[in-house]
Structure formats: C-alpha cells, structure tokens
C-alpha cells in the first residue's frame, strides 16, 4: 500500500475509489474537471470514446439498485469497456461460494475493474485489499459508510450551477444518520472548501459525530434553509429504520418535507437536489421535485460523466503500471 493509503498508487494516482476521505482538494477537482470533458460525449452521434476499449468492468451488486447500476453500466459502455452485471443474490454466493472465491473466479476471467455495492460498511475496501494488484475497485455504496461517486456527482452538479464552493451555503436535509450519501457529500463539501455546511434533521436522525463533520446542525427546516444556495434532500430510508425513530411518514413530511412555501427563506436562485429515488410527499413535495429549481434529473445525467471520469482515471493508473 502506498503512503497515500489504499486508494492511491505510489505516485499519488487514483487506483481505487472507495471513499472521499483522505482525497485532497486537488484530486477531487481533477475528477470534476475531467467529468466536464466527458459531458460532451452525450452530444456525439456515437456516444462512445475508445479510452477503455478491451477492458472488462464487473458490476458486483449485493444490494439492489437501478439508477446507480445503470449509470455505472452506461459510463463503462461509453468508455468502450465490456460490462458484466452480476446480481449476487441469484448467483454462486447463494450456493455457498465465498466472496473471495467469487472474486478469484472473476479475476481469472481477466476483469479489470469491480464496481461494488454492498450492504456492509467496508465491503468495497475489503475487496480492494484482496483483489489482484492490477484490478481497480470502485465503491458504489457500502452500508451506511460511503457512496463516493454519488458525492462527486453532487459536487459536479453544484459546481456547474454555482461555480466556486468557497462562497456557498449548502444545506443537507433529512436522514443523515442512515445516509452514506450524506457522509460522502459532507466530506466532499469540506474538502472542496464549501463556505457553510448545514445539516437539517430530526434529533433522532442525526449521527453523534455530526459536528465533527464540520456542519451546523438545525432541527427546523425553515430556519435551516435560510439563505441557502444549495438544498440537498435525502431519501427517508424506510428499509433501514429500526425502532421508533419517527412517529410517521406523514408527521415527517409535516415537519421536514420540502415544499415551495418552506423554500421562501432560501436564496431565490437556490437549487434543489436529491440523490433519488424520491419519496414524493415524504421528504419532498412534487411541486418542488418537478419545479424550476430542481436539478434532480440533471444529477442523473451528470452521474454518467462523473463515473466515466473516475473509471478512466483508475484504468489510466493501471495502464501506467503496465
């Protein structure tokens, strides 16, 4: 492992993309700049560039996902890589094969990159540690820990609308406690030097270490979005809720659901973001989700360019080592 940690090679080039943590502003900015170049590929008649021709990318999804998996697949295909989609629930692991055996078998098929989503925190890191040295691993979401490509595509969307991070007030609203997306966003916002970071949530959905993430905590939505430039709504993760954290979804919407009326205190040019899938009428009102300030669908398109940037960087690093 290099002195930069498992994600970087000895020269500091990106080899795996597992978490935002430990990646400096320069590298994050390089990813954003590179993604800018990939946006144009969508405008070509042939929506492909030959950068990763001959490479094999395996999507290892131990948790279901539609948007993330398809945008990773599209990103890999636009880079001209070949893509294997492995739905682990229905494959050999269900027959008792261990994760490492699955890994070895895929390596024997000369897979160059694993895109991993897993319900356990640290799963992608574990795979990166045990994978063959010429293989790269990208974390597509692990437990409550991290979802770094989502964090980066959100930063990319913010930068395209607002430019420099230094003068921005960004509010993240909702289920921070269960959200790997929020963790990645908060780390990226900090690394990129966002002017003010706020988190807005009921007391039961804020993690104990919230303040160490460099954020101001609010429990009142109207107060929290005052003068905000960017408002990021999080999905209420019903499937991760255990115990009585919330009285009801109806009650949650009454207090923390984003409506046009509650947006009055935000800056008039504020943008509204959401990683999807959205629960209409739970964390966000349809009028806001479909409104003029919403950039939710743009986030999806941007996700392809950002994932292309990250994948091509990692593959490029592999190539440097022959």
């Amino acid at each position: 492992m290099s002195r930069f940690g498992i994600q970087l090679d000895l020269q500091g080039n990106l080899k795996h993309f597992l978490t935002i943590e430990g990646l400096g502003r320069a590298l994050l900015t390089e990813i954003l700049d590179r993604a800018e170049g990939f946006l144009g590929v969508a405008e070509q008649t042939v929506k492909k560039v030959p950068l990763c021709r001959g490479k094999i990318v395996a999507n290892l999804f131990f948790e279901t996902s539609t948007r993330t998996r398809t945008t990773f697949e599209l990103a890999a295909k636009r880079l001209s890589a070949d893509v294997l989609n492995l739905n682990i629930d229905t494959s050999a692991t269900a027959k008792g094969e261990t994760l490492l055996d699955t890994l070895r078998n895929l390596e024997a098929m000369h897979v160059d990159m694993f895109v991993v989503r897993h319900g356990e925190s640290g799963a992608a890191h574990f795979i990166a540690e045990h994978a063959n040295p010429h293989v790269s691993v990208i974390n597509a979401g692990d437990g409550r820990h991290s979802h770094p490509t989502q964090g980066m595509l959100d930063m990319f969307t913010i930068r395209r609308h607002k430019g420099d991070f230094g003068s921005l007030c960004v509010a993240v609203v909702g289920d921070i406690l269960h959200s790997r997306v929020a963790r990645s966003q908060l780390l990226a916002l900090r690394a990129l030097g966002a002017g003010e970071i706020r988190i807005i949530a009921p007391r039961t959905l804020i993690p104990a270490q919230a303040r160490t993430l460099g954020a101001r905590v609010f429990h009142d939505l109207r107060e929290g979005v005052r003068d905000a430039d960017v408002i990021i709504m999080l999905r209420l993760q019903r499937e991760r809720m255990q115990g009585a954290m919330l009285p009801s979804e109806h009650e949650y919407f009454r207090l923390f659901g984003l409506t046009e009326e509650r947006l009055h205190t935000a800056r008039p040019d504020a943008i509204i973001m959401h990683p999807g899938p959205i629960n209409r009428g739970v964390e966000i009102d349809s009028q806001v989700a479909d409104g003029r300030r919403s950039v939710i669908l743009e986030q999806v398109s941007n996700g392809i360019a950002v994932r292309m940037a990250i994948m091509s960087l990692c593959i490029g690093t592999q190539n440097l080592h022959g």
Partner: protein, 185 residues
C-alpha cells in the same frame, strides 16, 4: 542550444498564417466547397483556426476538438490532465470540413481527430490545414494546406506559443523521455 529556441518570430508566423488564409480561400473556391465548417484541434490548432476563420469571414461558427479521449497512447500515459470539451456547434453531416492543427508530425493526432469527427456524424469531405509540416510521419496522412515545412533532428520538437503573440519555438525532448515514443503531433 538552450531548451527552447525561437524558430519563427511573431511577424514570420503572422505572415505565414495570412498566406495560409489566402491559399485556403483559393483552394475552397477551386474545389467548389461552399459553406465549409472550420474545426481546430486543441490547443494550438484552435488558435490558428480562430485566425483563419476570421480572415475568411466564414459564416458558420468555429468548431473545437479535443482528442484526449481518442489518443492511441492512453494505455501508456493515461488521460491528459487538461481535457477541454469538444464543441461542434453545427452538425458535421454532409458538410465540407477544414480541420486545422498547428504542427503535423506523426499523424496520430489527425488520426484521432478524424475518429472524433466521425463519432459526431458523416462529413462530405475533410481538408487538413497545418501551420507546420515536419518530418516523422508514422501514418499515411498528408495535409492539403501547409504554412511552413521543417526537417528537425531527432528529439527536437516544434511548439506553437500564443495566441497573443504567436511564436514558434524549438524544444528538445529530454533524453530519458526521448527514448520512449514521442507524443503524437
């Protein structure tokens, strides 16, 4: 020789570009290529194309190509850090294209640029205009319009500085890099 030497002064480059503009206008007229689309290759080619585009007073906006994603040495050197988006404001389908670059050496950049172009559509024709044609071709590509010609020693490299003011400088690839294949021009 120092690391970089002036090869052509600003005045010499300007005169050369003006002559290229005149010859290009004549060539387009002779070949009856109406309403051509001019496309420059980043970075030097775009500077040169901007100048030619203005001189010929072309109606269609100037296009810009970045070939980083199409380079054939990605497997060796990774993606060039500064990728600028390609911008083709008008569809290239059935159009006469004037592709502009600063220095033609191996031909690999032009090969990549043609690939990018054809991923945007199917042009009627492509003309290649370069400020400097030098030795060292590795692919069967020849320009239609040339400003200057040069024969250089191995390891020497011509670079267009600019755009204000333009100048052509002669540089040397350091020996340790000189042993690996030169970057495509």
């Amino acid at each position: 020789m120092s690391d970089t030497d002036l090869w052509k002064t600003t005045a010499e480059v300007e005169t050369c570009i003006w002559g290229m503009g005149r010859d290009l206008a004549a060539l387009l007229q002779e070949q009856r290529k109406d309403a051509p689309l001019m496309i420059g290759i980043h970075t030097g080619g775009v500077w040169l194309a901007q100048r030619l585009h203005r001189q010929l007073a072309l109606a269609e906006p100037l296009g810009q190509l970045d070939i980083s994603f199409y380079r054939d040495d990605f497997t060796r050197i990774g993606v060039h850090p500064q990728v600028r988006p390609s911008r083709l404001p008008v569809s290239v389908d059935d159009r006469h294209i004037v592709l502009v670059d600063d220095v033609l050496q191996t031909g690999r950049t032009i090969r990549a640029a043609l690939n990018v172009l054809f991923d945007y559509g199917r042009p009627a024709s492509v003309l290649l205009a370069v400020l400097v044609e030098r030795d060292g071709r590795e692919l069967p590509l020849e320009p239609n319009l040339v400003g200057l010609r040069a024969r250089l020693a191995p390891g020497e490299q011509l670079k267009l500085g600019g755009p204000d003011p333009f100048r052509l400088v002669l540089g040397r690839i350091p020996p340790e890099r000189g042993e690996t294949p030169a970057p495509p021009s």
